[in-house]
């Protein structure tokens, strides 16, 4: 069986800066891959190259063995690949429920049915279930912009799961989320991974979060893969300790 995601030899340069410099890795169905590395080592740029947000200077991206390099983000999303951004991105003027309906509506029906059909595209129930699942039930009708940072972060993640994706790329989902909520978030991600068999790639600086959630970890440094292995292997790797983990 071919891997869900296969990234080969991705390069991305911004002028003189080689942000990503030949990264290859692959992710199998049901895996939770963590990506760690110092600030500015190219993690987010790598995501943007995989997701069609940026055109890689070189290299290919394959989804289920089919090349999707440079495909538009909206098309990729409709193939079942969803994501969050490093900086929180919800639609502040829409309610929590509307945010989730938005995240699902393009996956149902056609342009015509979205015009003539129901205003909620038949997604209210599904949205409310997702809201309940992420423990935002008391906030369904609140405007997303009025939620606390941590709540918005949960909503942001919930939106990535609304359409039942097979592959989800999360860029620092734990950033700025308090400890209690962090536990919640981890539990939610695990549940989705177990119940829906969704495959995850997670960029994160929070080591406890990564080490306890991920099945495998990729370490980047200066745009290159420094090490790869299980959390325990990575933690014990000399180079990784020197370059990133410290002490």
């Amino acid at each position: 069986m071919s891997p869900v995601l296969e990234v080969s030899n991705i390069h991305k340069a911004f002028g003189g800066i080689k942000a990503v410099n030949g990264v290859s890795f692959s992710v199998k169905e049901g895996e939770i891959l963590g990506i760690i590395g110092p600030n500015g080592c190219g993690k987010s740029t790598l995501f943007n190259c995989i997701l069609g947000q940026l055109d890689p200077t070189e290299g290919t991206v394959k989804l289920d063995g089919k090349e999707v390099t440079g495909m538009r983000p909206s098309d990729l999303n409709r193939l079942g690949v969803s994501r969050t951004f490093q900086l929180l991105q919800v639609f502040p003027e829409l309610s929590v429920r509307e945010n989730l309906i938005l995240a699902g509506q393009e996956h149902e029906g056609t342009m015509l049915s979205r015009f003539f059909g129901r205003r909620d595209a038949g997604l209210t129930e599904k949205a409310d279930r997702m809201i309940g699942f992420f423990k935002l039930g008391h906030l369904v009708d609140a405007k997303a912009g009025g939620l606390s940072y941590g709540q918005q972060k949960l909503l942001d993640a919930a939106m990535a799961f609304m359409a039942g994706p097979r592959l989800v790329l999360l860029d620092e989902p734990a950033g700025g989320v308090n400890l209690t909520m962090l536990g919640d978030l981890k539990e939610r991600l695990r549940a989705i991974n177990a119940e829906q068999g969704a495959t995850f790639v997670v960029i994160e600086h929070n080591m406890d979060f990564v080490m306890s959630l991920c099945t495998r970890v990729l370490v980047l440094a200066e745009g290159k893969v420094l090490a790869e292995g299980t959390p325990a292997e990575v933690r014990a790797n000399r180079q990784v300790i020197e370059a990133y983990l410290g002490h």
């Binding site: 987010s44 943007n48 997701l51 069609g52 947000q53 940026l54 055109d55 538009r72 983000p73 909206s74 098309d75 999303n77 409709r78 969803s82 994501r83 951004f85 490093q86 900086l87 991105q89 919800v90 639609f91 502040p92 003027e93 829409l94 309610s95 509307e98 309906i101 938005l102 995240a103 509506q105 393009e106 996956h107 342009m111 979205r114 015009f115 003539f116 059909g117 205003r119 909620d120 595209a121 906030l139 009708d141 609140a142 405007k143 009025g146 939620l147 606390s148 939106m159 609304m162 359409a163 308090n178 209690t180």
Partner: protein
């Protein structure tokens, strides 16, 4: 940051969460306003005389063009500088089809809408592929081109002499030649077009338009085909100008190039902004300022444009969301509640996401 502190701040937090007034209820408010407005306008010309009635009809016809531009600018965030040119295209198409080809008005109306929609797609597709900004330049060039054709291609457009004897339609065998009868016809057509737009804005399309204006990059990552929706917003907005033109031709019964010039396109943009971009009822207010105000300011003669420009500037300094924004603020003060009619506020920017959406 400590846990106990959250307990104390909870009630405050709750207060800060502005409840979105049940969206359905608010949208129906707009529909009721449209219906009521139509009823009032149906009877409004009583005692107004031919000219007064004509000004009312002109206001509504202009509102249709402004509604279209409001979709393009206010919902999709695109700057089109050709709304008057599209209106001209619709007006001339209808005039030619009814006088030269002998089609009835309804068919000509539909064809005018179709033509402007298609031209919108043809202009928008290459422009929006590159960058949304390019649309402004492309429409600027298009505006000039249409102007030149209307002025110089005498064999087709009659040049500066224009086209005359444009017939008014009839409805179920009823002639609509009188000012009042035709005004009522304009009221019906305007209502239908406004309700169609209302429907679209509250459908999933409207949500997608809102999303792509607020944050196109995030919208694309959620599967929203931003290019398609942007293109549709522009093409439908242009078709509304075509519809407006198709009504304008039989209203004035004689058309020449002057109402379709570039400066008129700018004037229509001003009406969108003055009425309140992104508000469904904004175009009616904007067009009222642009069409009826000049009539009231007739006494001051050519000073009128200066007064109008000053009013718009002062208005925008006081409230960038135009008259609709002012009304909304007033309403919020009265009821102590938040937004009533607006779908979207500021745009959030998405750094570190590259250029494409």
């Amino acid at each position: 940051m400590t846990a106990p502190a959250t307990e104390g701040s909870l009630p405050q937090q709750r207060g800060r969460l502005a409840r979105v007034p049940s969206l359905a209820a608010f949208a129906d408010g707009i529909l009721i306003t449209l219906m009521l407005g139509a009823v009032i306008l149906w009877f409004a010309p009583a005692g107004m005389g031919r000219y007064g009635t004509y000004v009312l009809s002109l206001w509504l016809v202009t509102s249709i063009a402004v509604m279209g531009l409001n979709l393009t600018l206010g919902y999709a965030g695109l700057k089109s500088l050709a709304q008057a040119a599209f209106m001209g295209l619709g007006a001339y198409a209808t005039a030619l089809l009814t006088t030269k080809v002998g089609l009835n008005w309804y068919t000509s109306f539909a064809l005018s809408g179709l033509l402007t929609f298609a031209v919108g797609l043809v202009l928008g597709f290459p422009a929006l592929r590159v960058k949304a900004h390019y649309l402004a330049f492309v429409t600027l060039a298009f505006s000039t081109l249409i102007w030149l054709i209307l002025r110089n291609e005498q064999w087709l457009t009659g040049g500066v002499f224009g086209l005359s004897n444009i017939p008014r339609p009839s409805l179920f065998g009823l002639k609509l030649d009188g000012a009042l009868a035709f005004h009522r016809f304009v009221v019906i057509v305007t209502l239908i077009l406004a309700v169609a737009l209302w429907w679209m804005i509250r459908s999933p399309w409207g949500r997608a338009f809102t999303a792509l204006r607020e944050n196109p990059i995030r919208a694309a990552s959620l599967g929203i085909d931003t290019r398609m929706y942007t293109l549709l917003a522009f093409a439908i907005g242009s078709a509304y100008a075509g519809f407006a033109g198709a009504l304008y031709a039989p209203l004035v019964e004689f058309i020449d190039p002057s109402p379709f010039s570039l400066s008129q396109s700018f004037f229509l943009l001003l009406m969108v902004v003055a009425g309140g971009a992104g508000y469904l009822l904004g175009p009616f207010i904007g067009a009222l300022l642009g069409v009826v105000l000049p009539e009231w300011l007739r006494v001051v003669g050519s000073l009128y444009l200066i007064i109008f420009a000053t009013i718009v500037m002062l208005l925008l300094i006081a409230c960038p969301q135009g008259v609709s924004g002012l009304l909304e603020r007033g309403w919020a003060k009265l009821t102590g509640k938040g937004k009533i009619g607006k779908t979207v506020a500021g745009k959030s920017v998405a750094p570190n996401t590259g250029g494409r959406s």
